[in-house]
């Protein structure tokens, strides 16, 4: 609780644009700021980033001082919050949602001495890098499990916003379906929100009404998992381990581990070796983790683990050709791996996905 109060006060200070007075210490701690799109209590995306922040505190102790501002809307407000964090004397600022990209780059220009790290975007500048986790690697495993588990051959996908990250993950699931169960059909429902438990549950229920028996989600609350549990169907968790919300429904969760990366970045700033880069880590780097499989047969779990092992070792890459788009045109030639640059900005569906990307 003491901890929370300290951050509450820090957040208020940031909100008012006041730099907190330096503590009387031999060495100034490195100040690290975080901007979250959701509440840290979402038990999903923002929660995981905050776990990353806590692991910095645990690792560096007194040598760092962290602050966060949560539930910051993407847009004009974000710029103000990021600027205030920079003004408050933070040395390194993590902005953790796609919509913070342009504000981050803009503020970075105004504060050349502050280092910025933006999650899930693609722009860099002299003092701003970006980082992303290859959620699609985990999502491929989810697609495999869904393909094997479904009895009705109907998979539901709750999607948030049509940005490359979401499109890419939908594509990965479809690639897994194409390979492991071409009969399966994926229904995609856009809820136009990262976090709205009621709406996410509604979307899950509506799809189950339509015969879906495995729900995947790219939104942040565990409501869909819970809805599946209540109706005896199955679901895959997003961002954090959601098994507690569906003891009988939880198949697996695609968990983002930000701690190792955050510790590395803080260390680099301390050592003066930090450089702006586009970092994309996945299973190999330990950034994407699938803790366990539940409610699946031993064969499925074993095969799932094998896929994870192959992705981790680099033996297998989900976006390996031949990959066709919805029109049947070959986008990635047989045997080739889709280049990172193309994956980052992907704005088309692979063959098999129903419907169009919302414009």
């Amino acid at each position: 609780m003491k901890h929370s109060i300290k951050h509450l006060i820090a957040s208020v200070a940031v909100g008012l644009g006041i730099a907190s007075a330096p503590f009387a210490q031999a060495e100034e701690p490195l100040k690290v700021g975080f901007v979250y799109v959701g509440p840290i209590g979402d038990h999903g995306w923002s929660y995981q980033h905050d776990q990353g922040r806590l692991s910095i505190e645990k690792h560096f102790g007194d040598k760092v001082e962290t602050t966060y501002v949560e539930s910051v809307p993407e847009g004009a407000d974000a710029e103000r919050v990021i600027r205030n964090l920079a003004k408050a004397g933070n040395d390194l600022i993590f902005t953790t949602s796609f919509g913070y990209m342009n504000p981050t780059i803009k503020v970075a220009k105004q504060f050349p001495k502050v280092k910025f790290e933006h999650a899930t975007g693609y722009k860099t500048s002299k003092n701003a890098g970006n980082y992303l986790s290859k959620t699609f690697e985990g999502r491929y495993v989810a697609g495999f499990v869904a393909a094997k588990k479904t009895k009705t051959n109907k998979i539901g996908y709750i999607a948030s916003f049509p940005i490359p990250e979401v499109i890419r993950d939908i594509n990965t699931v479809q690639l897994a379906l194409n390979k492991y169960n071409p009969e399966a059909e994926m229904k995609i429902v856009w809820v136009n929100s990262w976090f709205d438990p009621g709406k996410e549950a509604d979307a899950a229920n509506v799809m189950m009404d339509q015969g879906v028996d495995v729900i995947l989600q790219h939104t942040d609350s565990p409501a869909a998992m819970q809805a599946a549990e209540r109706r005896g169907q199955f679901a895959v968790g997003q961002a954090s381990d959601m098994s507690s919300f569906g003891p009988n429904a939880h198949l697996m969760s695609v968990v983002d581990e930000w701690g190792p990366l955050y510790i590395k970045r803080v260390q680099q700033v301390m050592d003066g070796t930090w450089k702006p880069e586009s970092y994309w880590g996945g299973m190999a780097e330990g950034d994407i983790v699938v803790p366990e499989f539940n409610n699946v047969s031993d064969e499925i779990a074993a095969e799932g683990k094998q896929i994870i092992a192959d992705i981790t070792s680099g033996k297998f890459f989900p976006f390996t050709g031949p990959i066709k788009n919805q029109k049947g045109e070959v986008m990635v030639a047989a045997g080739e791996r889709m280049p990172i640059k193309d994956l980052l900005g992907i704005n088309w569906y692979v063959e098999g996905v129903q419907g169009d990307i919302p414009k």
Binding site: N192, P197, A201, P358
Partner: protein
Amino acid sequence: MDIDLITNILYAMVRTGTPLLIVALGEMVCEKSGVLNLGQEGMMLMGAVIGFIATLTTGSLLLGFILAILSGVIMSMLFAGIALGLNANQVATGLALTIFGTGLSAFIGADFVGQPIDGLNPYAIPLLSEIPLIGKMLFAQDLIVYLSFGLFAVIYWFFKSSRAGLTVKAVGENPHAANVIGLPVMRTRYLAVAFGGAMAGLAGGYLSLAYTPLWTENMTAGRGWIALALVVFATWRAERIILGAYLFGLASILNLVAQGLGYPVSPNILAMMPYAATVMVLVMLSSNVVKSKMHTPMWLGKPFHPGG
């Protein structure tokens, strides 16, 4: 579309509309007495978190709902003390209540995120729930939904035919006149605000104990604000609030259903539908300006000094 699908859509429509209905009915009573409380979101969140914690720790859903209602009332009395007792600006006080409730609920609930509870399950009334189409919608819901039907009926009757309802209306129309003829203006307003708080607390409890039985920060996701708008567009009439709430629920569900069925309509347009449809229908209903004005509490949001 087959009949099962329509049955399920109607069922989901009522479930989605219920939290809006409960909050909006409470706020309507509050506004009828001339008090504008913009703190709905804050009161709902407090109801949600306190109800959730109570149920999680004691295992009793009943206690959860009672404490949810009670925390809504306490929050509303905080508002009443400042806005009515000290005659502060109601809009500012209400906004402050929302900000306060959002922050406090997050603070209290921090340790309870990610904990599952069983939640209130639907109770299908035998025979009645098997009526085609509307049976599931009306008779296979959970107890809070049934309660909301009852609350609607009582509030409709209250303003239509009861003397107490007239008192509330008189206080909201012209508190000075009401005061002169001996009506207890301040007591009526406090009670109306408390009722609004109780309803917001109940709606919050409904969200965290029945609709999605979990606690996460800010889980109301703006429903309190939608309910506030609903009251205005429904021109302070209970029958239009229930229509508006279910219409909003229906359009929200249709948005998801249409996407699931793969209709080639842009999800962005579909996402707009709940708001557009509700506003359009209610505005069309209230197109008669003179008649609409009859239901508007003329003293809404203005302070009243009993002595002056």
